[in-house]
């Protein structure tokens, strides 16, 4: 596969250049509501040794980079501090919301006690947002974490599902999630079966919350093999 030796070393054919508006055209054929949009994930994007990850769900593309535990004069506590720099989200409140959500997810996954007094910097760039930016970002960060070699509980998968008049839709784009009752971004550690982050919005009647979360959990589980394959491939390339 011809790869351009730029700082972005994604093989050419994976960067399938489909113009965004052209994408709307084949949107009309009704996508099966339990399928994800065409997704491409890559663990270890840049040549550099630090952890980096890229995730693309339909037209939502997010790039994540983790700069490994680094010395920092001011921070002496007995655990590592995690700083996050989130770029590419226009809406101010969405930016603050996503930042809180991502930091909480990551600090529940990384063994912070193993890097006392160190700082872990995370850079996330949302290249384009067509719905589900938070769950794509969480997937990208999970890949970057696997590539960076920082010890953590395990790979996390996250899915964004919506409820539209008692029909569940997986991974909707912004056009598909018009007039939706509610939705949830659910991120989840498959090997321990525990959730690391939940972000539910909209107005969901209380009895539907249970099966909405259950549906999201199933979808997150269905993503595990894809992420696992991407990580194993990156370990191969490391040799």
């Amino acid at each position: 596969m011809p790869t351009i030796r730029s700082n972005l070393s994604i093989p050419l054919n994976e960067l399938s250049r489909i113009a965004d508006d052209q994408k709307e055209v084949d949107q009309t054929k009704q996508r099966d509501s339990s399928k994800f949009r065409p997704l491409c994930v890559k663990c270890g994007v840049f040549g550099t040794q630090d952890g980096s990850g890229y995730a693309e769900f339909g037209n939502t593309r997010v790039l994540a980079q983790i700069f490994g535990p680094d010395g920092d004069g001011k921070w002496e506590d007995s655990y590592a501090k995690i700083t996050l720099n989130l770029k590419g989200v226009e809406d101010e409140t969405k930016l603050a919301e996503y930042r809180a959500e991502i930091i909480s997810c990551i600090s529940s996954v990384i063994f912070v006690q193993k890097y006392p007094g160190k700082v872990i910097d995370i850079e996330i760039t949302v290249i384009s947002d067509d719905g589900g930016a938070l769950s794509t970002a969480l997937t990208a960060v999970s890949l970057a974490l696997a590539h960076s070699g920082i010890e953590h509980v395990g790979l996390t998968t996250s899915a964004h599902v919506v409820l539209r008049n008692d029909e569940y839709i997986t991974d909707p784009s912004t056009s598909e999630s018009e007039g939706v009752i509610g939705g949830v971004t659910f991120s989840f550690v498959p090997n321990l079966g525990q959730s690391t982050g939940i972000n539910l919005y909209g107005r969901v009647p209380i009895e539907n919350v249970k099966n909405l979360l259950e549906f999201a959990r199933q979808k997150a589980i269905s993503l595990v093999p894809v992420i696992h394959k991407a990580i194993v491939k990156s370990v191969d390339e490391m040799k």
Binding site: K94, R99, S104, L200, G202
Partner: protein, 307 residues
């Protein structure tokens, strides 16, 4: 705020919580005594002060603003409430200078998420859309005076208190030249010698009985509990911020926002248990709040600061 307690004290506290008896005698589902007082700030259109257990102290104030907006850009009616939360330095030293801003933004974002569908809960909120391209904008400013645990609960009480205290003037819309519209305060026709300005303007109030309530449910050991004091907060494994509101049509409850914070892992069933607990707590608080808002006496603003 970081309260230093030793591992033995934590162990004692965790054992207590798991046997449903906390260090101050409360059970897991009890709230600390709450003090709510409206009309505290005279310079605002609506204000409220909430004290949770004589420690957490929150002040919410509303300023109204007549905003003109481009109808093409925003065809659909948007919810007019804008939140801004700031942590005063005396709440805790870590908020001096720019310390509290990032945290304040995150809390404000959580409230935006919870109130994103407020047009459905508050029936007469759509009345704030005054005319084509003009609407009332409700700027909600919350400042945390004292920090001692579970402040999202105190904020949501203060927000509902302030909204219930809010008086919005009635307006008349007179078409003007060039497609513009002039908005005039509606004054009841008054004979007699009163000059036009002194005639009191008619005001209308929002019906806030169905507003969402944001509660933090925390997990310590195997027990879920609400309203944690600082000592308990230092032993928390994971926290869930749950926004619940009453369904306007039937006697049901809707979940408007769930956020997992505090960096912990949660089993699926404990997530559902915590939402269940939050719903029970919300029901109780709604009743207490409704009772409180009815018995509000008129007292000059700032009285509670004199105590």
């Amino acid at each position: 705020m970081e309260v230093q307690i030793s591992d033995d004290e934590k162990l004692f506290l965790i054992h207590g919580v798991e046997s449903d008896l906390r260090n101050d005698g409360r059970s897991c589902e009890d709230f600390r005594p709450m003090i709510l007082e409206r009309g505290v700030l005279s310079g605002t259109n609506g204000s409220c002060r909430v004290q949770l257990g004589q420690t957490t102290d929150v002040l919410a104030g509303i300023k109204l603003e007549l905003e003109s907006f481009d109808t093409i850009a925003y065809p659909k009616p948007r919810q007019p409430i804008y939140f801004h939360v700031d942590f005063t330095a005396n709440a805790s030293t870590q908020f001096a200078g720019k310390g509290g801003d990032q945290y304040g933004e995150e809390v404000a974002a959580a409230f935006h998420a919870a109130y994103s569908r407020s047009l459905d809960f508050i029936p007469n909120l759509s009345k704030t859309l005054v005319a084509e391209g003009y609407r009332w904008k409700i700027n909600m400013d919350v400042s945390i005076l004292q920090w001692a645990g579970s402040f999202p609960d105190a904020i949501s009480l203060a927000v509902i208190g302030a909204l219930s205290d809010l008086e919005i003037p009635e307006v008349e819309v007179a078409p003007d030249d060039g497609g513009k519209v002039s908005v005039v305060l509606k004054r009841p026709r008054h004979g007699g010698n009163m000059r036009d300005e002194e005639v009191p303007v008619e005001m209308w109030k929002l019906d806030v009985t169905k507003c969402p309530l944001l509660l933090t449910v925390s997990k310590i050991g195997t027990a879920n509990l609400v309203d944690c004091c600082p000592e308990e907060e230092s032993c928390i494994r994971a926290q869930l911020l749950v926004g619940i509101s009453q369904n306007p049509e039937e006697e049901k409850y809707d979940v408007t926002c769930v956020k997992q914070l505090g960096g912990g892992l949660l089993e699926m069933e404990s997530v559902l248990e915590m939402i269940e607990l939050a719903q029970k707590a919300t029901k109780g608080i709604y009743e207490a709040l409704a009772k409180r808002l009815k018995t509000e006496e008129r007292r000059k603003p700032g009285h509670s600061f004199l105590l």
